[in-house]
Point group: C2
Chain length 474, copies 2
């Protein structure tokens, strides 16, 4: 190809992909009658809860279906509040069709509901629609803001402080934009805590080869499940302010905080409670999405970013730049609208809605306990259970012979482990290398917002494989 | 804002926006009871046919609604073929939910249907799913391929040959990526024909300040409505091959070709019919979308690009790069699926579907005649009616005093014209400057895939305004 952007030629494809490809092949082999010790492949490597069998929320789907096909406004089998909601939304679409563009003129009711949600969530901290950009998923929102900021070459190249382990599509996004990924390591021993001294170390070291300008924080953390304490967040904010970093708060997992004493607090709220010294000047981008949490609508695509403390003189350019991009899909926006403004007590759909959410939450809590219960009985494996998110992230302590075997095969030890697990037991897990990890540590990831029978089956296969694996390489 | 990407600070916001903002204000004023000579603002400046009152296609909406809310599989008021289609699509979604991600694993049936459509449309020219990238709208697809290719600084900076008039969001996309827009002018006198000598001139001139690597062609053209002849396309292909340009064929308006003797032929088809000298090596990206044509689903967001003759060694990087971006929304993909594989004769929905499409086509043809009829009676205005697309693009011949007035007000003459038209008659049109035009020429654009009564009302208001305007500045 003549004249390709040289950056594209440097992009790593995802480590996980070969595993997923192989899982597909095995599924086909099974369908063709090849005999294995298992009847089907179970994949819990992703973060796509519908595809793993969690059901969509009825109210969300009823409202969207009615907006798409307004004849359903007359359909009594659809809850009245769903139809009313759809009717209100349709009234806001010129021409009464969700087939309209939204970039230049977002649907007011949706845009405003996001604002009200944020303000209410944050105990009244003001929020303006001006600062809310609704995107085609949070990944799109992340790339939008990165594109605004990333620039420069050599020593002036934008550096982005990025947690390890991390959300790998973000890291790939950095590569594709030519930003410098500056890793800071989370402390597994302390339940994956973010320690400011580690941030500082990473920042100072990076200054020899780039200009660190952005600090990316994921809270609740993925794949770790760690939920940051307010104290830790205050420290992070002070650090970012001192070092003049633009803070990216990726809060897409804010819904799924299930630890007994933990609670989600947004970076924006903490920032504003720290007083004007911080809240008047610190640049913050806070991200959310409909893909995660109990709504889990990955396929509809919608996320938002709120930009806080953006220089007013720059705002028109930000807006113009946003508009070049694209208009977010309306069905995703409707899901977002319901995520931020769900049925209330007294509404016809309230009881079904709450039961569906409660079921998912209970599933999550129960599944964590299942994982903990099994891991506790296993040698060579540990689990720092988090209080949030939708994954269990397990550490593997692999015997030296297994490490040697991986070396001989030219692969990573946890990849060897996962590939063997897939071949022998038909279970596809996430490989730690995909998310980044401290040199010499190995991990596996499992999505646990998954129906419990599936999780149990995975754990049982994992257990027998793991013991066999340890024995083989003892 | 500290450390913003300097390119963002150079983006022009759209000229049209001030007009659209003012149209909104006037609408609010009318609602508040302010008296004007008109009762409502009519906006035909956009390209969003649903918002202008064209109805969505029933079959499209029935299939999507059923996929979103599968309880409708049991609903007899939904056509059986719509339900069958939904059932097939749902079977292809793991977990049976359209809530799943699609970037790494597109929905097979949709991906393949696009391929079959292309191959059939092009008289059997082979097409492989490997080369089809389904995106969140065609704008996303354009930016995806631009991002793959645009690079370099100074003399090595990628230049993109771009028609004038053009699709302005593409031009803004070029700006945002730091590509050099190299304008080539379409020949209005010859019905907006693309003349290769003009291309060549633009190319040679541009070499003094950039490296032209991409040739962007829009066919059917917007806003011109010009449909290229096969001969013209062959010339363009020969030129691109000689000059080693990557050809971007933006064919989003392929559905709406209504001229008596004209027919849409794709660049890919012409390329393959020119024989292996061209078809084995010329790099081509061909774009399509669900936003335009008779389907007009701008709000659902889906488009695709087919990449032809991409170096096999680069493909894995292209794929990896694509996957970083994002997964296209499923509801948009379903619309795409139906666009490429509509109901067939004999299917229960066939007759409704064809009637709905025929109605839109008839509307388009009738509206063109209406516009022509009025323009023919008016001094100071001309119309090179095209054979495709969804716009009427009119030329204004403005009196010197009007040009002087614009100069005095520090605005463009056609913007002055449109602003006055809006204030005095409540009609919002597209301003020629937005699309680019030859120095000293002025234009206005009107979307004519719009209900006929609206078009008639627009024409009547335009006529009386225009005559008044000419008189005022005589
Ligand atoms: C931490 C984090 N941020 C962002 C995203 C992107 O979400 P979306 O599907 O809205 O693009 C994900 C999805 O996996 C995520 O885990
Ligand atoms: C010529 C042309 N290309 C591309 C697009 C983008 O279409 P989409 O809505 O699919 O992003 C448009 C939309 O106006 C267009 O007119």
């Amino acid at each position: 190809m003549r004249g390709i952007n040289p950056r594209v030629n440097m992009i790593h494809s995802s480590e996980q992909q070969t595993l997923i490809q192989r899982a597909k092949q095995i599924t086909e082999e099974l369908q063709q009658g090849v005999k294995k010790s298992y009847k089907e492949v179970i994949s819990v490597c992703g973060d796509d809860t519908h595809s793993m069998g969690m059901k969509p929320l009825t109210f969300v789907r009823q409202v969207i279906a009615t907006c798409i096909y307004p004849e359903l406004l007359q359909d009594d089998t659809i809850a009245t509040d769903a139809r009313q909601r759809a009717e209100r939304l349709l009234k806001e679409c010129e021409g009464g069709s969700v087939g309209k563009y939204c970039s230049y003129s977002p649907i007011r009711g949706i845009h405003h509901s996001v604002c009200e949600f944020i303000s209410k969530r944050d105990g009244g901290v003001p929020c303006s629609v001006e600062n809310i950009y609704i995107c085609c998923g949070c990944q799109d929102a992340l790339l939008f803001v990165l594109n605004l900021l990333v620039h420069g070459e050599g020593l002036d190249q934008t550096g982005v402080l990025t947690p390890i382990p991390s959300y790998n599509a973000f890291v790939m996004g950095l590569e594709s934009l030519g930003a410098v990924m500056v890793p800071y390591y989370l402390c597994e021993e302390e339940g994956w805590e973010l320690r400011v001294e580690d941030l500082r170390k990473a920042l100072y070291t990076s200054r020899s080869h780039c200009s660190p300008r952005i600090l990316y924080v994921i809270n609740p953390g993925i794949p770790t499940g760690h939920v940051q304490s307010r104290k830790s967040m205050e420290e992070v904010i002070r650090f970012a302010a001192e070092e003049k970093l633009f803070l990216f708060a990726d809060e897409v997992h804010q819904d799924t905080v299930y630890g007994e004493d933990s609670q989600f607090v947004s970076y924006k709220k903490v920032l504003f409670e720290m007083g004007p010294q911080y809240s008047d000047s610190m640049e913050l981008a806070s991200f959310h999405s409909v893909s995660k949490g109990f709504i889990g609508e990955c396929g509809l695509r919608c996320g938002y970013v709120e930009l806080v403390n953006i220089d007013p003189s720059v705002k028109p350019f930000v807006k113009a730049f946003f508009n070049i991009q694209r208009s977010p899909p309306i069905t995703g926006q409707i899901a977002m609208h319901i995520m931020v403004d769900p049925p209330k007590p007294g509404d016809p759909s309230y009881s079904t809605f709450s039961q569906e959410v409660k079921f998912k939450k209970d599933t999550l809590v129960y599944n964590v306990q299942q994982v903990q219960g099994i891991v506790d009985t296993l040698p060579g494996m540990s689990f720092q259970a988090g209080c949030g998110g939708i994954y269990a992230y397990l550490r593997l302590y692999l015997p030296p012979k297994a490490l040697q075997q991986a070396k001989d095969e030219g692969t990573k030890p946890d990849r060897l482990y996962c590939m063997r697990l897939l071949e022998e037991e038909g279970v596809c897990l996430g490989v730690g290398t995909e998310f980044g990890q401290k040199e010499g540590t190995y991990h596996i990831r499992m999505c646990i917002l998954t129906p419990t029978p599936k999780v149990k089956e995975v754990l049982s296969r994992l257990k027998s494989f793991h013991l066999r694996f340890l024995q083989e390489f003892a």
